[in-house]
Assembly symmetry: C2
Homo-oligomer: 318 residues x 2
């Protein structure tokens, strides 16, 4: 089977399975659970899990429940992050706390995580390794989110601090996907560790690219939370670089965007191009993806589908 | 050792251990985590876990990590419930979202649950039963909370519906304590199931008593969320009974309390006494505790310390 068909099949399978995962709870919960879970996500994480399992010659049945739990884990973080940032739109739909109310947002996040964990424990009670990797990831994401919040109230953040934050917030979760994909295919420890490193790098590249697309993509799907990011003084790779290169100019542009969003953002974009920040970010993203692919090259089995997936992510427009 | 000393020792041990459970995360998280965890809780759940393990002649070392995870699980629910009900005070301290902000409240709840789960998985990777009981309880609590919220917008709730809700919200968690206390002492399945049933009943009695104390206790520690309960139209055992006996009068008193809280609540109390709701609730609480103790009597080992604990809870004033 070729790569595109495989990815497509995975996506359809994941979407189909997610539709049936929570149907018997209180009516109010079932409704909002499925509103979130069936929304138009990219399914990057569960696809990555299944794909890693595939290149490791595993049985998809052993990886699929974990892939679903990972997607739910991700969705839980989205619902709660949207509250923290007061974002109004997610995946083209109103966010939960916006469409319902704050309490429903908090509770729905908790529920999605509960369903995710129950699904995981049910399917991996004899594979405590999978459960352990998963719960470690949960802690990492909370800590990454906390650093992200801490950074809001600081002016100067170094690239090193930023990298630590996105590794916790995004990298470890993608590293969890590849590690669980590998572990459920019963590869040796060395290969599982290497695939985890690959996943973390992929996550790092993915996050910086997210920062980048949010400012430069034409897609309506992106730019979704650019306004809240600006208002909250979020630290992105581009803003940190710009703060190093032209602190005064970029701060003025950001202040302007708080008053006149479109005008301010146009100025921010112009500065990022003129001062070389855009170019440097593109280079950094490419560098990280190259580093990730190098890890794949060093493994002694066919990882070409993961290579293709790296490229699939690198070339995304949303 | 006598009962009071044992309970005291457990409480001190739990408080001591909780102080060291999360120290190495991002500064902002460590601070707020320990603010919540070290607050003046009654530690009902972890003490119940250890006590059950004790009467089952288990080794405390096997139950202690679970007891700590259960207390953290409970604290996670409190932090998020306080957001949902917008309560300002908890255990004599400002609630997290009130002292910090909403985002910190959401994230701190998530973190406490993450730490709880990591602590559980680390200590019970070879006892998947404990992990399974725990995650099932997590789902039950979310569903109970959802029903509680659903009831806010309904006028007529039956006692049966109410019982189902509090079993999910409170009962199963106490049932989890006794079941895990028993399982970590390696008792047979029958005894573990019976002790679970005892815990669920204890939780049911505890919750109705909570409803009761919130209205009738003189303690400053209670009545903490009475105002928000009234505003949110929360269904308690007493309100459901009153709605059956004198719907018009009680609704008028509640409406009055929304305008003049003290005057309205005095009228509510007066009605609950005059119409026999207070008395009937006291009877119901006693009936449930008797039923719980009957289960203990049927077990063929010495459960007197659990009897004492039932009485300890029944006689609490906060």
């Amino acid at each position: 089977m070729n790569f595109d068909n495989l990815i497509n099949d995975y996506e359809n399978l994941i979407n189909k399975k997610l539709k049936t995962v929570y149907k018997n709870g209180p009516k109010s919960l079932v409704e909002v659970f499925n509103y979130v879970i069936n929304s138009d996500g990219k399914r990057v994480r569960p696809i990555l899990t299944l794909l890693t399992n595939h290149v490791c010659k595993g049985n998809i049945e052993n990886a699929l429940p974990a892939a679903l739990s990972i997607e739910m884990f991700h969705d839980f973080t989205l619902v709660h992050d949207d509250i923290m940032d007061d974002d109004k739109v997610r995946r083209g739909l109103k966010t939960v706390h916006e469409k319902w109310d704050l309490g429903t947002g908090v509770l729905t996040g908790d529920l999605i995580l509960s369903v995710s964990l129950n699904n995981l424990i049910k399917n991996y009670q004899n594979n405590s390794n999978v459960v352990k990797i998963f719960t470690k990831g949960l802690l990492a994401v909370c800590e990454g989110q906390a650093l992200d919040k801490e950074f809001e109230s600081k002016q100067k953040i170094s690239i090193t601090e930023y990298m630590k934050m996105i590794d916790l917030k995004t990298g470890y979760l993608l590293g969890m996907c590849t590690e669980i994909g590998a572990v459920t295919a019963e590869v040796n420890n060395y290969d599982a560790r290497k695939l985890r490193e690959y996943g973390i790098l992929l996550g790092r590249g993915f996050q910086i690219q997210d920062d980048y697309l949010e400012i430069f993509s034409d897609s309506k799907k992106m730019g979704k939370s650019l306004q809240s990011d600006i208002m909250l003084n979020k630290k992105t790779f581009l803003m940190i670089l710009a703060n190093l290169k032209c602190p005064k100019l970029i701060q003025d542009a950001i202040e302007l965007s708080k008053k006149d969003f479109n005008k301010g953002i146009d100025l921010v974009r112009k500065l990022l191009v003129e001062k070389g920040v855009k170019k440097e970010t593109e280079c950094k993203i490419n560098e990280i993806f190259s580093e990730a692919n190098k890890i794949l090259n060093d493994l002694n089995f066919d990882t070409s589908f993961l290579h293709s997936y790296s490229m699939h992510i690198l070339n995304r427009r949303r």
